[in-house]
Symmetry: C2
Subunit: 352 residues, 2 copies
């Protein structure tokens, strides 16, 4: 997992910056869209870049021991399997938003806490590669074994390969799992050296008492992890989860193969932080789709040096915030590609 990566093209980025400066608009007037166009040029290795044509979402579904043992969610764990079915029948927010932008959606049961037979009614829509059923309650025990962690990372790597080989030019990692913001907060607290209370949010909407309990669970997990940033695989085993480990492998493999990723909410931000530890420089291949209301998302994106494109108080996960950002990526590319220059349009620049 520690093999290096090829950085995005600095040449294409420089060409994009130079081209932005001669387009018929005040310098910098397209704000963050200009930076986004530069990033797109760099990851596509060409200037001007084109809108992404084949976005693909993989939803990593898994349950979490803490949800059952410590009650850190507003919803019962059964909802995870029910939502997997909803993804397959196309009724979830991620399905609706994916149809709007022409993105493929695939759902993977990584560690759902349901009898494997529930998938029988859903095949072939769901990927059956379960690592284990649910995971340990991270306030008191490891989420999974070292072997399971390696297998989950390899699953994510394989899924990224499959999506890329199927033609993906941009990847999205969605999440579904009652309780999954608890390990996400714990991982972010460790990897950003933050206080558990400042990394812990209300997830699906817990009340004050549940939030306080969730903070204590996160604090216990952080204490168990020992703030060891340097051993990301061990960290995933101790306080992560199979679904987040698989997502980590997927994000890392995107960077390794030079296929960019739009990050989504706090769970994908947590996986991204771990992937960036595994694979230094990987974050150059990623952009931040949106800023979740979960406080850990802002901590993680700041650590990764990524500015979110959308900030609309979303906290749904599934890949929804990343999908909403795709039209902005297209706008960044098309303005850079198609706008007239001062010279071509006969417009006076400020220097004249």
């Amino acid at each position: 997992m520690t093999r290096g990566i090829t950085p995005p093209s600095a040449d294409a980025a420089a060409q994009a910056r130079a081209r932005q400066a001669v387009l018929t608009k005040p310098a910098g007037a397209l704000g963050a869209l200009e930076d986004t166009s530069v990033w797109m040029a760099s990851v596509q290795g060409t200037c001007p870049p084109q809108p992404f044509m084949n976005p693909r979402v993989v939803i990593f579904a898994g349950d979490h021991g803490v949800a059952r043992s410590a009650g850190t969610s507003a919803y019962p764990p059964e909802v995870t399997a029910q939502m997997v079915a909803n993804f397959i029948t196309g009724g979830a927010a991620v399905n609706v938003l994916a149809r709007q932008v022409g993105a493929a959606v695939r759902v993977v049961d990584v560690s759902v806490d349901a009898p494997a037979e529930y998938l029988d009614a859903l095949d072939p829509g769901v990927v059956r590669r379960r690592i284990r059923r649910s995971c340990g309650s991270i306030d008191r025990e490891d989420a999974m074994s070292p072997e399971e962690t390696v297998a989950a990372l390899a699953l994510g790597t394989a899924l990224a390969d499959e999506e890329i080989d199927a033609g993906a030019d941009i990847l999205i990692a969605g999440d579904m799992g009652i309780g999954n913001t608890t390990p996400a907060a714990a991982l972010i607290a460790v990897l950003t050296d933050s206080d558990p209370s400042s990394a812990t949010g209300r997830g699906t909407g817990v009340d004050d008492a549940t939030w306080a309990r969730k903070v204590s669970v996160v604090a216990a997990a952080v204490s168990r992890a020992g703030r060891d940033r340097e051993a990301p695989v061990r960290l995933l085993a101790r306080i992560g989860s199979p679904d987040i480990a698989a997502m980590t492998g997927y994000l890392a493999q995107g960077a390794r193969r030079g296929v960019p990723v739009v990050l989504d909410g706090v769970v994908s931000c947590a996986a991204a932080l771990v992937a960036a530890q595994l694979l230094p420089g990987a974050s150059a291949w990623w952009c931040a789709g949106h800023l979740s209301t979960e406080p850990g998302a802002a901590l993680a994106l700041e650590e990764l040096g990524l500015r979110p494109l959308i900030d609309l108080d979303l906290r749904l996960g599934e890949g929804t915030g990343a999908l909403l950002a795709l039209p902005l990526l297209a706008a960044a590319a098309t303005t850079l590609a198609d706008m007239a220059t001062f010279d071509s349009a006969g417009v006076s620049d400020r220097a004249h």
Copy 2:
């Protein structure tokens, strides 16, 4: 101009809120998109709402005496006419973004400071209904006469009628005019009772010395206006401009005819503030496409009670920030319309 308006449908809004509560997601997890879907239901008078299918942009082009007399812009006034030509040939950012979302673009020479003959090369793409050539330097004289002000408002009203009669289901007001952020700042300072320095920004990117001069121009204009919020037509004549007056008429007519508007940058926010004075309740028909870096935009949107959808440090105007918001409006409508409910998908709600 003081005829009342019909408010958007409270029934449709209530239906939209009720429907959001039973969709398969945590309550409120789609954040501001949920409020946007409620607004769309209210202005369309039906639930669920549909994505807007016929967005139309009118760009109000005009020059400003202050740009020439006080030098408040980083670009020479000649750029206004040059950019009108760029809009017609389709090379500006607004053209590129309009093509991406299927929006029509029309440009109106309201008060450009160029010989009328420059339009000859551009017909029939540009609307020739000039109110006057440029306008008075508002730090020392009225922008225009009362008769010109009334004519400019009527021009905007007529343009909205033309767009609506051509099938527009959502209107956008774009701006183009070297110096136009100066009257926008002055109008906003008066109508939000703000200090001139807090309402004045850097427009196309002026340096510190020019910004300080611009603040003194805005302060002089505010002083000339006497902070008379109750006489919006007189206010436009004294410290506005023909293009902003026409935009005001256009925004008001959208509300009057029940056709919603996506506001753009600081110039359209200034016109919206004036239109809301002319026509109380009009802002219920508007949404805020984005938050410009111009400080007056935030002041105006707060006064209007509107939350911007996009916040990407844009400061281009032309309607660009409003166009970027259209995919988010579509996402708000389609999630409300097409997501499964807890009942239909067999997903447990938190109450279960």
